[in-house]
């Protein structure tokens, strides 16, 4: 694979940051966008724009077709069984909120239990916290160990006959841990507990097959998948979408509206209220095509190579401590430098054009567990190369110089 060529498809890399070449290591936060995606959005607005599904003129027909085409592409991309299982949301966060609210309303009662893990992003904790407040649900945290792993046993021992849902991340956005999803789902199935996967850090990097994985819910953020901001995807098994009440109410998601009652259509319409992110969803079709042209397995392979190179290099750097040591790791390396706070690292790296993230990465529970307030995180996308790692490492050395370490 020619990474230089792939990188050249991302306009952002032809710009300088503080006079330096951009070394973008913040893809877990949001990925950069290839030109095909950017152009598709422009083109759609310039030539085909109209609101979707509502009007009957030619523009509306084209726009509706383009829009629904994306749903089909996503269905195939994740090998869902039905196109109706793909719901467009604002972001992954909204996907989890949708499930928490509607599933919670229908199935969660006082003292019912929800299992999450200590690795979870706030997006996969706060919505459940709302259920705790509103419904008296109990949230149980499966422990993560020093390596950053959550063992199947640590989940198993939390399960009781009040467990109503297991919600876990696919890949930790701090330790990079790839969770043993199949085992978790198998376990949950024996107890008939539905499983929600926060796939934010999975979908951009790992081949997905919903029918094989057989989880009940899987959420993604398109902006982390070389796609536009403002779009997320909720995959849910049809049986759930048939059972769950609607989430937001408004135009498009109704069947019959009377003064005393309202009836609703089926999924996906039932869950998509108001004017959606038309242009963004149309644009996202190009992101899927972009990923598929490269091949998601090639992406995994390439990122694995760079991640391993990065781990090797940073492990040799004595000032650096890497967070977690999971057996299977996604394209994420979080670290600390002795005596230098991650915010200071981020500022100094930025001076060299190296963009990383510093902070708790929306994982306060995990950081508290590790006993640090913040960490620095380098996360990869398809455009990163070994050279990027070399520059990162040089720049880390500079941190030590600035701080006279």
């Amino acid at each position: 694979m020619d990474i230089k060529e792939i990188k050249s498809k991302f306009p952002i890399f032809s710009n300088k940051v503080k006079g330096k070449k951009l070394v973008y290591l913040d893809s877990a936060n949001s990925s950069q966008k290839p030109k095909v995606v950017i152009d598709r959005i422009s083109n759609f607005y310039s030539k085909e724009f109209s609101n979707v599904g509502r009007s009957m003129h030619s523009l509306a027909v084209t726009a509706t077709n383009r829009f629904e085409e994306t749903r089909d592409l996503i269905k195939n991309f994740i090998n869902a069984k039905f196109r109706e299982e793909i719901i467009f949301t604002k972001n992954a966060t909204e996907g989890i909120n949708l499930v928490a609210t509607t599933y919670g309303e229908k199935f969660i009662k006082d003292k019912d239990e929800i299992i999450i893990t200590e690795l979870e992003h706030h997006a996969n904790y706060v919505p459940w916290h709302f259920l705790r407040k509103r419904k008296g649900a109990v949230i149980k945290f499966a422990e993560c160990d020093k390596q950053g792993e959550v063992s199947i046993d640590s989940i198993k021992k939390l399960i009781t006959n009040r467990t109503k849902l297991i919600a876990v991340t696919h890949v930790s956005n701090v330790t990079g841990t790839i969770m043993p999803l199949s085992k978790i789902i198998d376990l949950a199935k024996t107890k008939k507990i539905p499983v929600l996967i926060d796939g934010c850090q999975g979908a951009p990097h790992i081949k997905l097959d919903m029918q094989k994985l057989d989880c009940d819910f899987y959420v993604m953020s398109c902006h982390k998948m070389y796609g536009p901001t403002g779009v997320g995807i909720l995959y849910a098994k049809k049986k759930w979408l048939d059972e769950l009440p609607p989430y937001q109410g408004g135009g498009g998601m109704i069947d019959e509206v009377k003064k005393d009652n309202i009836s609703f259509p089926e999924s996906p319409t039932k869950f998509e209220a108001g004017t959606l992110q038309t242009a963004e969803i149309v644009g996202f079709a190009e992101s899927i095509r972009f990923i598929e042209n490269i091949g998601i397995k090639n992406i995994t392979q390439h990122e694995k190579e760079i991640t391993e190179y990065g781990l090797e290099k940073l492990k040799k750097n004595n000032s650096v401590s890497i967070i977690g040591d999971p057996k299977e790791r996604g394209a994420i390396i979080s670290f600390t430098i002795k005596g230098i706070h991650p915010h200071d690292i981020a500022t100094i790296l930025d001076d060299d054009g190296v963009a990383i993230r510093a902070g708790h990465h929306c994982c306060q529970i995990l950081h508290e567990k590790i006993g640090i307030p913040a960490s620095a995180r380098a996360s990869l996308g398809i455009y990163n190369s070994k050279e990027d790692i070399d520059i990162l490492n040089e720049s880390i050395n500079k941190c030590n110089k600035v701080f006279n370490n």
Partner: protein, 154 residues
Amino acid sequence: MDLKELYQEIILDHGKNPRNKKKCDGFNKDAKGNNPLCGDKVHVYLRLNDEKQVEDISFEGEGCAISIASASIMTEIIKGKDFNVAKKILENFINMLKDGSKPSINSLSDNENTTIMSLSGVKQFPMRVKCATLAWHTFLHAAENNKKVVNTEE
């Protein structure tokens, strides 16, 4: 795309003077259909006898010329037919609107064929396909005792 193909005389006629627009006598099955985005509504009634023959069929409803004409034409063509034949006609009809394939059904008379073909222009107007198919889907629900309201948004 040609408006004249869409609004053929035969369709305008069925649209303005729909046949079998009433509750038919002694119906023993019925179903409702909605197109929530447009507000089209149809209610199909039919009398199916023990041999699964459509003895009588009728409809009530509101909608555009295409949906009313399509419902009217459907009742004309299906009345008296065997349910299995009717189902076959329905399938062919829907395929015609979807992929433009010709509905060559032996069991249709030349006259019936001409009538049903008058709706083939709809396929060039994708937003109108739902108008043309609503009554037909609703007929199927009625015949199969499917209590769910047909909803073309599904």
